[in-house]
Amino acid sequence: MKHGQEEKKLKILIYPALLLALITVAAMAISIGAVPFTLREIGAVFLELSGLPCGVSIEPVKKDILLQLRMPRVVLAGAVGAALATSGAAFQGLFRNPMADSYVIGVSSGAALGAVAAMLVGLPAAWGGVGAVPLFAFAGGAATLILVYQMARVGNEVPVMPLLLAGIAVSAFLSALVSLLTYFADDRLHQVVFWIMGGLGGATWTKVKIMVPYALLGFGTVYFYHRELNAMLFGEETAHHLGIDIEKVKKILLAGSSLMVAAAVSTSGIIGFVGLVVPHFIRLLIGPDHRHLLPTSALLGAVLLIATDTLGRTIIAPRELPVGIITALLGAPLFIYLLRRRKKLRYFDRTE
């Protein structure tokens, strides 16, 4: 009884808490760097932007750094973190498998292959009006997902082990293909390698404009079906008995999640563990209800990636550590810690 009420309180408190964390982390990320900003300066730039007069005058160079370098980077980091975390939550719910995330299932590798192929072919950035790299990343991710899903499928069930094994196998194969392409990358080698490591360097408003609509569309699609995701935790057949058109919903959810992954991977390369750790952590706090799990995972994912990206940007300054390395360094031990506390894990501890 007490347990339930505590959870309810947490559900109400978690939104303002995460929003506060997001604002704090974002403000810190903007202010920290080779050119530091005080909160007053940040405030002044924003006031000026909104057309209000302010007492403080800021050099145009500093203003440019803030608006054209730091801001897009923070927004992009937030969007990528949110997309990765939400897609992880959706994959885990969809597959009823705690190990599922875009990284383990191979969608990331597929998206990477698509993106690298697009880079090497040298398709123009605005190909088809949406950008060739994200488009190819999406196609690669979606194709991989369908492939892994079909490989693991036994009748109507997608059992855990075959899914993971198929994901690992396909992921390894695609990674090899990415390496192969990289080998022949020649003058584009640097671009490709740095992209694969996963980083948000070179974030621009253009990238934000390309990435965010995809991510939002993906998130909207997944959130649209949050009730179905809840019911699907009870198994596909139960969800069917509750009036859900399983095959249709599953495809839509896979497409929505892949869209988010593709959007994230195409702009920032491969960033692991955000999609794995964040939803698990949220489930520990507020339970498995996707109505809250999806938005709070998005918020925490954004907070986490903005924070780790800022760390990567500043820890060995003036050089930059790709954020993918940091999330893996932090995420893997954290995930192991969560696994050790398995009894408290919000679902899938039936092996106990």
Partner: protein
């Protein structure tokens, strides 16, 4: 009663092997139908076809004359709810959240569950007796509690038909009965048609009013318990020899599988028992369990001792009711006593009809056959012969019959010999 569900020529093949083979039956509104059949007979497959979780290879299922194929999952979920055999609940939804999911087929997207929905859920929880668990995590519940929660969720769908797959399979005795009573209540109070696959024929006979016996994907028998629970169909469906009888208390049909062990293949010495009356049963049951080959004295076919002998395929002398033991039966009785290493007189009532059995014991005792009398046969006044039976028992005692206080002493007596 109007026809609610029509199954027409339903066939389902799996890798060209028919699981369901041209099934044909109808179910009327408000019936309680038990789907019976051995493992692999197609019960679960049939339920999954009816709930549209499986697509049949051929044939059709009509719900109120509408083809199931033409119904959307949402429409179907508003008419039919399913309680699966086992529900995976390895995550922390509360009972209330789980039950509320039963409203999914009615909810518009993004419209939050309103007070109407919540009060329907509350009523469903009250009806299945899980209100006090509302805030608990479903992962922490026992199997019986969980089944009730899943039934509450099914009720939340306000269905006209409730499908249950082995609802009692994982439940203990108490939960089995309370669950079936709950389902019967829902059927009577709300008129919900119940279709349940069930393994336990005795529970089926007691709680359901129509049976459908499947065998190799076909309907072997359908109708009332009397029509379906019969030795023939049960032999075909389950491959066992069944004995059908009325439950002595509940009055419904019951099934027991005939004993197939060969009681003659034992190293223990044979024992003959004077049967007749309920009091002989515990003694016979005990001795058989100890591995003694038994023969049973002259009894009428209605007697529990006779049924015992028939069940275990033991030698028994049958006599017509309400009449004295004939000469022929008397001679046969003497034969059995002579073959036995010991003759046991259990604490049974004696009247004019079976007095001759005691006389046979006396004759045999005089000729050297060992006899044991369970002592409370003497203490109790079960003598309906005006004292004659008591006198014979006294004479048996004086002529060397062993007087035993308890059935367990029979073993010791035989070991001493």
């Amino acid at each position: 009663m109007s026809i609610q569900l029509t199954v027409h020529d339903l066939t389902l093949q799996y890798e060209s092997h028919p699981i369901l083979d041209r099934l044909q039956f109808e179910i009327s509104r408000g019936q309680r139908v038990a789907l019976l059949g051995a493992n692999g007979a197609g019960k679960t497959t049939l339920l999954r076809c009816i709930s549209k979780a499986l697509k049949p290879t051929a044939g059709a299922i009509l719900l109120e004359k509408r083809d199931l194929e033409s119904l959307s999952p949402r429409e179907l979920a508003q008419t039919m709810a399913v309680v699966p055999q086992e529900t995976r609940t390895d995550f922390d939804f509360t009972v209330e959240e789980t039950v509320l999911m039963g409203r999914l087929p009615y909810l518009k997207r993004f419209t939050p569950e309103g007070d109407d929905e919540k009060s329907i859920a509350r009523r469903a929880m009250a009806m299945t007796g899980v209100s006090h668990l509302a805030k608990r995590s479903i992962a922490t519940l026992s199997g019986g509690e969980k089944q009730r929660v899943i039934i509450a969720r099914a009720l939340c769908q306000e269905p006209q038909i409730l499908l249950l797959d082995e609802p009692t399979a994982n439940l203990d005795l108490g939960y089995q009965h309370s669950l079936l009573e709950l389902i019967t209540g829902l059927n009577r109070e709300k008129g919900i048609t119940i279709i349940a696959a069930i393994h336990d024929l005795n529970l089926a006979a007691r709680f359901f009013d129509r049976m459908l016996l499947l065998s190799s994907g076909r309907v072997l028998a359908a109708g009332t318990a009397e029509e379906v629970i019969a030795p023939g169909p049960i032999k075909t469906a389950y491959g066992v020899d069944a004995l059908i009888y009325r439950h002595p208390l509940a009055g419904c049909l019951q099934v027991s599988v005939r004993n197939n062990t060969d009681d003659t293949k034992t190293k223990q010495p044979p024992i003959h028992l004077i049967g007749g009356g309920e009091e002989a049963l515990p003694v016979m049951e005990y001795l058989r369990r100890q591995g003694y080959p038994l023969s049973i004295g002259p009894v009428t076919p209605e007697d529990s001792s006779y049924r015992f002998a028939a069940f275990y395929n033991l030698p028994v002398i049958e006599v017509p009711p309400f009449s004295p033991v004939s000469d022929r039966a008397h001679r046969a009785h003497l034969e059995l006593i002579k073959k036995a290493a010991l003759t046991v007189v259990p604490p049974i009532p004696f009247g004019i009809g079976n007095l001759r059995n005691l006389e046979a014991v006396e004759t045999a005792l005089e000729q050297g056959s060992p006899v044991a009398i369970l002592s409370h046969a003497l203490d109790q006044v079960w003598d309906f012969t005006g004292g004659e039976a008591g006198q014979i028992l006294e004479r048996l005692k004086s002529k060397g019959a062993q007087l035993l206080g308890d059935r367990s002493q029979i073993t010791a007596l035989l070991e001493r010999k």
